[in-house]
């Protein structure tokens, strides 16, 4: 297939064999690990700057140019901190907690196409695979909270489990509406299917509803405000990571931000055309892999900004309000929306900008 051969990573792998093959695999894994750390730190910085923006203050701006090294300094502080484990804790579960969360987030990143040429592995069931992996991540929170033997941790983790299991359904329905239009679960094919029109515009009404449902469910799945009951600091101390210190806490924190990145990246891939340039304005230029990444990260950045905007705008929901929102509103709407979208696709009532502008 032509698409998979465009992938830089698979080209590397094909050009080697034996020990070199393993080395290239390790190199790619290290690249992703590096991206994981850098993106996590940058997102934390962005969050603080955006918080400053919304609260009419500057945010961190002293360490390095424009405060760029602030979070690196924070990370160094966290690394140097003493790691203490509660005496009563089940150490095995306590440590397994953050490993599961981090591994789930890392595997999720691997499937996301950054551009036509840059993607960890283009699996046949792409989008389904990401939802499956992210559903494993919540177990890390549950195990970690149980292992730390703290009632606040446990209550936070129980809420997290409840929230993830509920909102996964709505997110799934939103994904299905897109898959109906794309006719594929493969990430690259979903993006390629948006060549003429992004799915947000192609599916107009049902796609916009699905987009909103996906953003809401995604915010809930990454445990962010207004759905951050998991760590509601006014009631639960710090929620499920109350007993974690130093890097243990940092791992959870990083994984949370990476999960937010995954949600934003999925939104831009599913609805906003992923790496595709709007109206193909950069299509003829050299270094296509760069332009693909440029547009992908631009769209993802806009969605991340939106999620951060939520955080500094909405008050936190109560647990019963959270469940009411999911089971009484989002799920029925999502269910009907999927049927409506199926009807639209069947009757071909979709908007194709390529046909309208005749390009």
């Amino acid at each position: 297939m032509i698409l998979s051969n465009a992938n830089i990573f698979s080209q590397w792998l094909e050009s080697t064999s034996g020990l070199g093959y393993v080395l290239v695999l390790i190199l790619i894994a290290a690249l992703y690990l590096g991206f994981f750390a850098v993106a996590g730190l940058m997102l934390v910085l962005m969050e603080r700057r955006v918080a400053g923006f919304f609260q009419l203050r500057l945010g961190p701006n002293r360490v390095g140019p424009w405060g760029l090294f602030q979070t690196i300094a924070d990370a160094l502080k966290l690394v140097s901190k003493e790691i203490f484990i509660p005496k009563q804790a089940d150490k095995f579960l306590y440590k397994a907690g953050y490993y599961i969360v981090i591994i789930a987030a890392l595997i999720g990143i691997g499937v996301i196409p950054f551009s036509r040429q840059i993607q960890g592995f283009d699996i046949n069931v792409g989008i389904f695979f990401i939802t499956a992996v992210s559903s494993v991540g919540v177990l890390g929170i549950l195990f970690g909270a149980w292992g730390s033997r703290n009632k606040y941790s446990l209550i936070g983790a129980m809420r997290s489990g409840l929230q993830m299991v509920s909102y996964e359904l709505s997110a799934g329905f939103a994904v299905v509406t897109v898959v109906l239009m794309a006719g594929s679960l493969k990430m690259t094919e979903i993006v390629e299917a948006q060549q003429s029109t992004w799915f947000l515009f192609k599916g107009h009404l049902p796609a916009i509803i699905a987009f909103m449902i996906f953003i809401i469910a995604g915010t809930a799945e990454s445990n962010r405000v207004p759905f951050d009951l998991v760590e509601g600091e006014s009631e639960l101390g710090a929620g499920f990571h109350t007993e974690y210190s130093g890097m243990g806490f940092a791992y959870f924190f990083l994984a949370e931000f990476i999960n937010m990145f995954i949600i934003a990246a999925l939104t831009s891939t599913l609805f906003l055309g992923g790496w595709l340039a709007p109206f193909g304005i950069t299509d003829g230029l050299p270094a296509q892999w760069f332009w693909g990444m440029f547009w992908f990260f631009l769209k993802t950045g806009v969605i991340i900004f939106l999620l951060m905007w939520f955080r500094w705008t909405f008050p936190r929901l109560r647990i019963d309000q959270l469940l009411t929102l999911e089971w009484k509103y989002l799920l029925p709407v999502g269910l009907v929306n999927t049927v409506v979208m199926a009807l639209f696709v069947w009757k071909d009532w979709l908007i194709d900008l390529g046909k309208i502008f005749g390009s």
Binding site: D90, F129, S135, V136, L142, F143, V165, L323, L335
Partner: protein
Amino acid sequence: MESILFYILAVIILTAALFTVTTVKIYRAVLYLLIALLGIAGLYFLMDYDFMGAVQLSVYAGGVMVLFVYAVMLTEKVGEPVRKIALFRRIIAAVTVLLLMGLALYAIWNFDFPTASNNKPTTINRVGEVLLSTGDGGFILPFEVISVLLLSVMVGAIVIAKSKKSKIENHD
């Protein structure tokens, strides 16, 4: 390469399964079971059966394990080591397990495993076509029955959630 990965996964699955039944801390048993299920998902991915692997991840590792976590919390004295079982019961259990294992091993050794003639990866499109096919080897009837069942379960959950007043709400 594949065989090395297979043996690594097999060792992980078997060790985790062994620990699942031997650990005295019930919560650790859940974690070991999770590791075993993840290993099995890995086996599916190794066989290029991506769809099955993803289903294994989302249904067993993601769904059933979360249920287990909640169910285990409802058991008695969940934080303490599991109490010792009487010797007589242990012997009965051992004999039953050995018999079952013998049966399984006998079946495996005597079955002539044919080599699959096509080694193409099973794509999701193919799975979809077979699920909705009405011809030979099609799964349309069970697929539709299960779909209707699951849909009615979901609609039922929504209806229960939307029902006017529950007893708990009347309480306050």
